[in-house]
Symmetry: C2
């Protein structure tokens, strides 16, 4: 009881993603996740509030990295380049989690409740990015516009990262997608 379990959190996450993928999210119980991980339900609940949190505990962490990226961006950058720099810097740590991100993406896509949660996550992120831009002195409506455009780039790039076969890093795909947005708007009348 209370015994230290090496990497319990990581083992529970892997077990949960496996079971959600095999049997569906709705059909999977916490008891099954704990059993697959070789741990107890009690240990599960020391790490996660419920089975949904296994899929979303990273959201505030990612948001924190992106907000840090905005705060740390060099002065003199335009709002959209601050967002671009933050997206590249803030998603650097996701690189090694690509296989997990792919598994997670397929599960979220298959479950309406999780899709809704994902949309809330992205809307919350856009609000936080806009606030961080305001903190750098970017006025409205430039702050929410750059934040929403940044989340648009993130969504498109992330989807490409988890669904395409090529080995480009997420940061690289974000850079290309942001560049695509600039080209697209520059070419327009």
């Amino acid at each position: 009881m209370g015994r230290w379990e090496p990497n319990a959190r990581g083992r529970l996450e892997l077990a949960a993603l496996e079971l959600y993928g095999e049997n569906g999210y709705d059909q999977t119980t916490v008891a099954e996740i704990a059993k697959r991980a070789g741990l107890t339900e009690r240990t599960f609940f020391r790490h996660f509030a419920d089975k949904r949190e296994v899929l979303f505990y990273g959201a505030p962490i990612l948001q924190g990295w992106l907000v840090d990226g905005i705060n740390d961006a060099p002065g003199g950058l335009s709002p959209i380049d601050v967002i671009g720099a933050a997206l590249e810097a803030g998603t650097r740590f996701l690189g090694e989690r690509r296989d997990l991100a792919r598994q997670r993406y397929a599960i979220v896509l298959a479950t309406p409740e999780l899709q809704e949660r994902e949309l809330i996550k992205l809307a919350t992120l856009a609000t936080a990015l806009a606030d961080a831009l305001r903190g750098r002195g970017v006025p409205d409506p430039a702050a929410p516009l750059a934040a929403e455009a940044g989340v648009a780039v993130f969504k498109v790039a992330f989807q490409r990262w988890v669904t395409s076969a090529d080995e480009d890093s997420l940061a690289q795909i974000i850079r290309e997608t942001m560049s695509g947005l600039k080209t697209m708007t520059a070419g327009a009348t």
Copy 2:
């Protein structure tokens, strides 16, 4: 029974918005809405599936207008200008509904369940716009990128339209916001 009630739908919508604003969405019942409108619950359910639909019946209509706007846009426009033209054309009919839109916006903002529904509406819209662009031969990732950027512009412009005191039309605010996005990305490195 089955008797024709002049503009029952509009009266029910007005009554519902009033009551949601006065007492809160969660606290309002269909019986109260029908009573306020001087109609029966039976008439309510001939027009709306439930009290949430009063706030969201317009979503597929708006989406249809925007998709029509993409299909009808002149050839030779860039994807982002197709989206801009569709947003301006497709929201033209919202002009006369500004007071209703303001009331509705305040209610949605006050109720988490409705905010989630609103996010789903916008995500569904982005998917439909991307598909309509693909129908014009726009490839990926330009199609989803232009669609997501368009929804970003729509969100920021719509929020300004329902919260600001000035009398600019939604189409005018959309034009300015799209122009702001272009300036922002053009000025960037």
